[in-house]
């Protein structure tokens, strides 16, 4: 019997090794897998490469992981925020590496990894600093930049509901990067609000099919939800 349900966030991330590349879902707090990030901090792996849209906010979640000096490199589109002080401090001290990627290119590089694409040409960033040193090509009447996929050892994401096969549904704008990250990582670990019986999810509305998911852990909802 397939059962991807794991007892705790700690058990779900016990095998992360130093130097791993980890994709973390979420856009701000929406979709941020906070319990899994806390477990990763407790687990102790260091020298990590993190893929997220941002570089942490305030003092919790990804910001806490960065603040604990466990991250060697961040790949993101928008590190600078009013409350990204942990990243800002380490970046200015030269203690953390940044690969700045336009948001759509970040998404497509993740998607490409999950879809088995070797590389792709995108018009985004052509003629800008972010395309310096990259291969370009004129196709038809437009110029494009060659971009490579981003593969990860782990994706840690948050979904709303899951079954024991790892089929997932999401809630509102918390979906964001999670479905593509799930496909791009060797091991995808999901924090969900609710685990339901096989068959209880409407097959028409499953967003991430279980084939992309390795481990599921139930975490009580802590976020503020509208009534």
């Amino acid at each position: 019997m397939i059962n991807k349900v794991v007892s705790s966030p700690e058990a779900a991330l016990a095998d992360v090794s130093d130097g791993a590349t980890i994709m973390i879902g979420g856009f701000g707090n929406a979709g941020m897998p906070s319990a899994l990030i806390d477990a990763l901090i407790a687990q102790g792996a260091r020298d990590l490469t993190i893929v997220n849209n941002n570089a942490g906010n305030a003092d919790t979640g990804l910001a806490a992981l960065i603040g604990a000096k466990r991250v060697r490199k961040v790949m993101c589109s928008f590190p600078r925020q009013s409350d990204s002080w942990h990243f800002d401090r380490l970046y200015r001290a030269g203690e953390i590496e940044l690969e700045l990627v336009p948001q759509g290119t970040l998404a497509e590089r993740i998607r490409a990894a999950g879809a088995g694409i070797g590389a792709f040409f995108t018009p985004t960033a052509y003629g800008t600093k972010l395309a310096e040193g990259k291969e370009t090509r004129r196709i038809g009447d437009r110029d494009y930049v060659l971009e490579y996929p981003i593969h990860a050892d782990y994706a840690i994401i948050k979904a709303d509901r899951a079954d024991r096969w790892g089929n997932l549904t999401y809630r509102l704008s918390a979906r964001n990067f999670a479905p593509i990250m799930a496909s791009a990582a060797r091991i995808t670990v999901v924090q969900v609000r609710e685990i339901v019986e096989l068959g209880a999810l409407d097959p028409e509305v499953v967003v991430t099919p279980g084939i992309f998911v390795k481990r599921v852990v139930k975490v009580a909802a802590t976020l503020k939800r509208a009534a």
């Binding site: 856009f27 701000g28 707090n29 929406a30 979709g31 849209n53 906010n57 589109s77 928008f78 590190p79 600078r80 925020q81 990243f87 800002d88 970046y91 200015r92 940044l98 700045l100 990627v101 336009p102 948001q103 759509g104 290119t105 998404a107 497509e108 993740i110 998607r111 995108t122 018009p123 985004t124 960033a125 052509y126 003629g127 800008t128 600093k129 972010l130 999401y170 809630r171 509102l172 704008s173 918390a174 979906r175 964001n176 990067f177 999670a178 479905p179 593509i180 967003v207 976020l223 503020k224 939800r225 509208a226 009534a227």
Partner: protein, 216 residues
């Protein structure tokens, strides 16, 4: 002359957005356009984080941390709106499905080059977000900005001195002084605020401007 305030510029941008348009409003000044869209028109707002049909700010007490706009502020969904993942969201942008992107700017060149993501300063932490995708992907790129910097320098320039967001991507510029179209032969003045002559706008702008024969 009667300079426009930010709300008036937003209202001027909104006037040019037709019924049925799919629109992305960038962070900063462009977000003001949302409240100025004519009530009778169905216009669908796109948000990078996987939302079509972005609605206004929620009422106090109705915020939901799973429902954000691209600026990570609490948001709502209009009736008929929907969600999708980030790769689909940027397929909408890059794939030329969006009718308009309204973006802020540090500088726009006479050729329509846009600089809006990085001051290039050695100590500045660069952040780009979705700006470069919107610049190349939207069918029309509209820029909304102050005409002059705080120091009084023109933000319309011969060549951008700040790092580019996109080359030759801007179609129309809305400032507190004027509306200008970017055409292959340079910047055409569509209209100026009351009491501002073409000659005076030309002097303030510091780059060659053309009179538009007939306003678009």
């Amino acid at each position: 002359m009667k300079k426009m305030d930010h709300k008036q510029i937003a209202a001027r941008v909104a006037r040019d957005i037709p019924e049925g348009a799919y629109v992305n409003l960038g962070i900063g000044l462009p977000t003001l356009v949302a409240d100025q869209l004519p009530k009778g028109r169905e216009i669908i707002l796109h948000s990078e984080n996987g939302v079509l049909g972005l609605g206004p700010k929620p009422l106090p007490g109705h915020e939901d941390e799973d429902m954000m706009n691209a600026g990570k502020e609490p948001a709502t969904l209009v009736t008929g709106g929907c969600f999708f993942h980030h790769a689909d969201s940027f397929a909408m942008i890059r794939g030329r499905h969006l009718d308009f992107a309204v973006l802020g700017a540090f500088q726009v060149s006479v050729a329509g080059d846009l600089a809006n993501w990085h001051t290039g300063g050695a100590d500045a932490i660069p952040a780009v977000g979705g700006a470069m995708d919107l610049a190349v992907g939207a069918k029309k790129v509209l820029v909304m900005m102050e005409h002059l910097t705080k120091k009084g320098e023109s933000k319309l320039v011969e060549r951008c001195t700040y790092p580019l967001t996109g080359a030759r991507c801007v179609n129309r510029i809305y400032t507190d002084l004027a509306v200008l179209d970017v055409k292959p032969d340079g910047l055409h003045v569509v209209e100026t605020v009351e009491g501002l002559s073409f000659e005076e706008l030309q002097r303030l702008s510091g780059v060659p401007l053309k009179r538009l024969a007939s306003a678009a």
